[in-house]
């Protein structure tokens, strides 16, 4: 299994179709098919393409299926005349198992045979959201992730128990956009269901990271007999903890405590929802079209025009981020907004947030010092929302830090409170502006076009909804220190308290 490889497998053939050279991967297939190293391809479909390209004298670019004993390989072939030879480039290798007739597949599903697989394939996009899934809960044996669901909402990553050289291979690989294997994980819905994950980084044709395609193999099958589990597609992957009445109180209190005018006054729910649907779609299309043009997918284009298209795509992404922020704003200001109440490891989340922003930081030679892998501070909060807050805080720190500086992320647990502190060496914030920065659309005069001025406001609202707080300590010229304060898991309370 492999994704759209940034580096193609290549071969060169002469005018008679005989191989002059071929990369190892292709040569292995040639030998497997009974061919010789310097003979024409023994893979019929590829040989036919070579003959066609030589006969027509034109480049070819089309999919081709190579039949093998175990499973066919489907790939994208480009054949281009290269002097007297023909250069073959093979991209996007995909394993394709022989097609199971529908009637048979339907029968399998209908009878729910004792066919429970111990491993399954997954794919995530560059935002680590599941996509292109083709899973059946009956066969997997437990609830399956849904398209669009975040990877970390389904899997909780575990450190390597053996203390190996790479405690969190996936996180390290994600930062560097590399392949990984041996990542231990368990389902958030059932920590007895343990998996070993491996993944291949995917890149689009321009070489840009586009996600991972990977495999999840059950680790616990050796010790526990697998039995088919009735599919529960309607059930969530992990059930939310039943909210006690205090949550309702806290929400009501939160709503009552809002001294700000109700958002519906300027951004009513219906308007916000309409904005979201009305803007997201055209903006997404603008980004995709501009990206396509700037990457010259549809043909050659002058460099300055490609650059303009790149600018349009960048502006589109900024607009989309603003729409996302507005949607978040809408969500947190809904009276019935209640984050999930679960046990989260702030250390893991801090490392994850740091990992997500490492590339951006490295571009300006900024170092992010995340908590050590063996550090654990457990809090009672919503995993996804805490990650959102931390990404915002660390992202702000990266944005406002000078080149070659350091950002520290530290953890603290005291008096039933769990804290994450993000400190930077930036220009700092005047104390008289400490509260202003948490206001909506407040950017303290920044006009760099980066950010919507909603991030800190949303972060604080999210923290408060989880019985927490986001605070700042800073002075001009002395950097800034943001603290996310949340209830500690060990404090033992069952629900969020009024903020």
């Amino acid at each position: 299994m492999s994704g759209i490889d940034a580096t193609p497998v290549t071969a060169l053939v002469d005018r008679n179709g005989c191989i002059l050279r071929a990369d190892d991967r292709l040569m292995a297939l040639q030998i497997e098919a009974g061919g010789q190293p310097n003979a024409p391809f023994a893979l019929p479909a590829l040989a036919a393409l070579v003959r066609l390209a030589l006969r027509l004298g034109t480049p070819l670019s089309r999919p081709v299926d190579l039949a093998r004993d175990s499973a066919d390989i489907s790939l994208w072939a480009q054949l281009r005349p290269d002097g007297d030879a023909l250069l073959i480039s093979l991209f996007d290798w995909q394993e394709r198992r022989p097609r199971l007739p529908m009637s048979r597949a339907a029968m399998l599903e209908a009878t729910a045979e004792t066919l429970v697989i111990t491993g399954w394939d997954w794919q995530v996009d560059d935002q680590m959201r599941f996509c292109n899934l083709d899973l059946n809960a009956t066969h997997v044996g437990h609830a399956v992730p849904q398209d669009g669901e975040t990877f970390t909402a389904f899997f909780a990553l575990n450190d390597s128990a053996q203390g190996g050289p790479r405690a969190m291979p996936m996180i390290e690989a994600l930062v560097r956009h590399m392949n990984f294997e041996g990542q231990l994980a368990h389902l958030r819905g059932d920590d007895k269901l343990r998996y070993v994950l491996s993944g291949t980084a995917l890149f689009d044709r321009s070489g840009r990271f586009s996600g991972y395609r990977g495999h999840a193999e059950r680790e616990d099958v050796a010790t526990e007999a697998l039995t088919p589990v009735a599919p529960s597609t309607a059930a969530p992957v992990y059930p939310p903890i039943t909210p006690p009445s205090s949550i309702e109180n806290s929400t009501a209190s939160l709503a009552a405590d809002m001294s700000e005018p109700n958002p519906s006054e300027f951004l009513g729910p219906a308007l916000s929802r309409r904005l979201d649907t009305a803007l997201r779609q055209p903006i997404t299309r603008i980004i995709a079209n501009a990206g396509t043009i700037s990457e010259r997918i549809t043909g050659p284009l002058r460099q300055d025009y490609a650059d303009y298209a790149g600018d349009i795509a960048a502006a589109g992404r900024h607009l989309l981020a603003l729409v996302d922020d507005l949607a978040d704003l809408q969500a947190v200001e809904e009276p019935d907004f209640v984050p999930t109440n679960e046990e989260v490891d702030l250390s893991e989340l801090a490392r994850r947030a740091a990992g997500l922003l490492t590339i951006r930081a490295e571009a300006r030679r900024i170092s992010i010092q995340a908590p050590a892998a063996d550090e654990r501070v457990m809090a009672r909060a919503d995993y996804r929302r805490v990650l959102q807050i931390l990404v915002n805080l660390v992202g702000n720190a990266v944005r406002h830090s000078p080149a070659e500086s350091t950002i520290w992320i530290r953890l603290d647990e005291v008096n039933g409170r769990a804290r994450v502190i993000v400190a930077d060496q930036g220009g700092g914030i005047d104390p008289e502006n400490h509260e202003r920065i948490f206001e909506r659309f407040e950017r303290l005069g920044n006009t760099d076009g980066d950010g919507s001025g909603l991030g800190l406001y949303i972060s604080r609202r999210l923290a408060r909804a989880m019985s927490g707080e986001v605070t700042i300590e800073s002075a001009l010229g002395r950097g800034a220190r943001f603290t996310l304060d949340l209830p500690s898991w060990s404090a033992g309370q069952n629900g969020y308290q009024a903020g």
Binding site: T58, W76, C131, L133, G211, Q281
Partner: protein, 355 residues
Amino acid sequence: MANGKETGADRAAGTGGNDHARLARRLADELRHRADLALFADPAPARWTDAFLAETRFHLAGTMNAVEMAIRLEVSEGDIEVRLSGLPQPYCSPALERNIDLLTPELLAHYRLRGALAMVQRDRNEPGREDALSSASGEGPFAHALAALGLAEQRWTGPMLFDAPLRPDLPAEAFCELAWTAAALLIRGLALGRGPHDRDAMPVVIQAVERIISRHDEGSGPFALAQRCARALTSGERRRIAPLALAERRLLLFCALVEAETALPIGQAVDALVEGGDTARRAMLKLMGIEEALAVQVFEMLTPLTGTLAAQDMALMRFVAEYRDTDQVEAEAWLARMLVPAALAAKLAIIDPTS
């Protein structure tokens, strides 16, 4: 069939009945192509409706104009360049209409499919219409390929200017055929004033066409882009996207999804949808799990191509009834027949014309 009264000559050529069938099939194929050519040159309501004919002509003329323009630009030999500039522009597409025999069955068939796809597509962009496909595409490789496909399809549905060039984004085989057709017409045009074998012009035009062919990139054409869309998805995703593609009249994308799901080549899938009759359409839609209501929409969107417009109500009722009766086994059986190699299928059809 064999009846015990065959002569030795019959047996030498095969069984007597099959001999007739073989001859009849070949004559029928030839006649159909001739009829297509005749109707293409002189429209009459049959397999070609006015709109379908106009669409196909637009594509043929536009791409031919583009190739002709490329040849003219590529020819740098002074005398030939001057003589080429003496020919009217565009020269090839009107000349082709006068020499319609130059259009091979394969090329005409390709343009017919292309015209059909574009014609269905042309009705897609209704103002204010929700574009569910783009919304479902996210931001990954599929979205990029879909955007590229959208741009390419927009070219197909541009204003029908018969004198303007249309990007010749054809598969390699069709492009070569088109380029050599244009070359033949230009060489003939140049030779009109200098005798039948203008040795000066021929090598120059040949070299120009060879250079153009060597630069052609079929990978940026809609067929290839649709295939790249389908490859960016897994099976489950393809089945979710397929109804959206049909609902938005993106037949090429739908056929690419069919190819990725069933291994039926995209060209055959398009051919089956446009030319294959109701049996093929029902089978393809069933294979992709298309619901009855959407299948009816597809039937209706294809009526301008299938010639069932006049008898639409009756035909629609028949289609619905038969779609309900079509089961997966039947659809799989159709697919199995389609996946037989074309050469073998042709031989089997000769041996048993009823198959």
